[in-house]
């Protein structure tokens, strides 16, 4: 199961849009949940007049049998106090449907990095203990960097180190719950800030592709991904000519 966390810059969600659009995945269902703000629109992956009128809502599931891939896309923010109920419902669905592993795409506030994190790659990964056994070695080969833990009380030298993902939305909760429930989960995240996060989405989806090999990697790293039609006008309508 591949899914995003609603996180800073919506990078995870944009990356998932690229996956669904490029692999031309079929919608197979949706989550009927009171945990997300409602929204509805027409098909965001429409390529022609004929397929543009299918309704689309805030939490939908897509499937690609050839790669045994199920993708959940989340399109709206969480309602206050609903993080935990959603995570619980999601993880119980994961266990009930005997899903082998879960990959969460997420992001974290770039301004919260410490001095060392400012250098080098802005991409990080996390693995639950159950998945560590299976793919830990592969992560070493790919030369990926694990998300660092931070001191629980910064400034005091002797404290425990804890996982802290500021701006990550449900990422930390999903991860810690998966650790305790024995679910094989990986989190892939990028440090970023709010703004035009399309480049961040491309970086994150290419990072994912290094591991899962969903599409053939090419030299020009953005050409193998298809941008969905719903990404048009991301920053509003055209400008009034009278402005100039």
């Amino acid at each position: 199961l591949l899914q995003p966390a609603v996180s800073v810059g919506n990078v995870g969600q944009l990356a998932i849009d690229l996956v669904i659009s490029t692999l031309d995945m079929t919608k197979v269902g949706y989550f009927y949940t009171d945990c997300l703000v409602p929204m509805v629109g027409n098909n965001p992956y429409a390529t022609a007049e004929e397929n543009s009128t299918e309704l689309s809502i805030n939490a939908e599931v897509y499937w690609l049998p050839s790669k045994k891939l199920v993708v959940l896309q989340i399109r709206s923010p969480f309602i206050k106090n609903k993080y935990r109920p959603f995570c619980e419902a999601l993880l119980s669905w994961v266990k009930g449907s005997r899903c082998a592993r879960v990959v969460v795409l997420s992001s974290s506030h770039a301004y919260q990095r410490d001095d060392e994190q400012l250098l080098g790659t802005p991409l990080r990964y996390l693995l639950t203990p159950d998945l560590e056994k299976a793919v830990g070695g592969l992560m070493q080969e790919l030369n990926w960097k694990e998300m660092e833990k931070v001191a629980a009380y910064p400034g005091i030298s002797d404290t425990d180190k804890v996982l802290h993902i500021p701006g990550g939305g449900i990422t930390k909760l999903l991860f810690t719950e998966s650790c305790s429930k024995g679910i094989q989960m990986a989190v892939l995240l990028k440090f970023c800030s709010e703004g035009d996060n399309i480049p961040d989405a491309f970086v994150l989806v290419n990072y994912l592709n290094e591991w899962l090999q969903l599409v053939k990697s090419e030299v020009n790293s953005s050409s193998q991904w298809k941008i969905p039609s719903s990404w048009r006008l991301l920053f509003g309508s055209g400008l009034p000519p009278a402005l100039f």
């Binding site: 509805v40 629109g41 965001p44 939305g169």
Partner: protein, 205 residues
């Protein structure tokens, strides 16, 4: 993020607020307050007679403009009778509890066509908050049979929110757009809403 004066503030994010800090360490008093607040925000629906089980058409007007449209062109005291009312409270509004509703009040009423009791209208001019939308939905549709039910939702959005290639200033407004489910087979009287536009809040729910 540091500001000019040196204090650190949390950057606003489209992703919403981080909830991790809030969820831990809730004292019994806090839980009690949260429960009371949730109870206060509960959506209540009262039907004047029996619940409307045999409804064939439901028209829901959400927002003051849509509600005013129904009041001006459709509703009158001869053909329509009030059969239900929704009571709710949130930070933005409280539904009016008087029987003589003024157009400026916040209210949510259900009317039935006297000559055909299977036709229902809902006028909802109050703002239904995010956490109440699902409740509203479940309470209203919970007591209706879904088979053979046709629902029409009327709502308005600011033209400034409409995303299009040209500037919205040049558009001839107001204009109509529609969204429909696969099951709706009849002709729609206006063009469908193009991507990347979306509908939010209660109409979306």
């Amino acid at each position: 993020m540091a500001t000019f004066f040196g204090e650190v503030v949390v950057a606003p994010s489209r992703a919403g607020l981080d909830e991790e800090e809030e969820a831990q360490d809730e004292s019994p008093e806090d839980s009690e307050i949260r429960r009371e607040l949730q109870a206060k925000r509960a959506v209540q629906i009262q039907w004047s007679a029996a619940e409307p089980s045999g409804c064939s058409r439901l028209v829901v007007a959400i927002g003051r403009n849509a509600a005013a449209f129904l009041s001006s062109f459709i509703l009158d005291s001869v053909c329509w009778e009030v059969v239900g009312v929704v009571k709710l409270w949130n930070e933005w509004c409280r539904t009016s509890s008087t029987t003589n509703i003024l157009p400026t009040d916040s209210f949510c009423l259900f009317y039935r066509l006297i000559s055909d009791p299977t036709v229902l209208l809902c006028q909802c001019s109050c703002y239904v908050a995010e956490d109440q939308q699902f409740q509203w939905l479940e309470k209203v549709f919970g007591c209706m049979q879904k088979e053979g039910l046709q629902v029409t939702i009327l709502s308005t959005c600011p033209v400034a929110d409409y995303k299009t290639q040209e500037s919205t200033l040049t558009l001839a407004s107001p204009f109509l757009k529609a969204l429909k489910t696969k099951e709706f087979q009849e002709q729609v009287c206006c063009p469908l809403l193009e991507q990347p536009n979306i509908v939010r809040d209660l109409p979306a729910a």
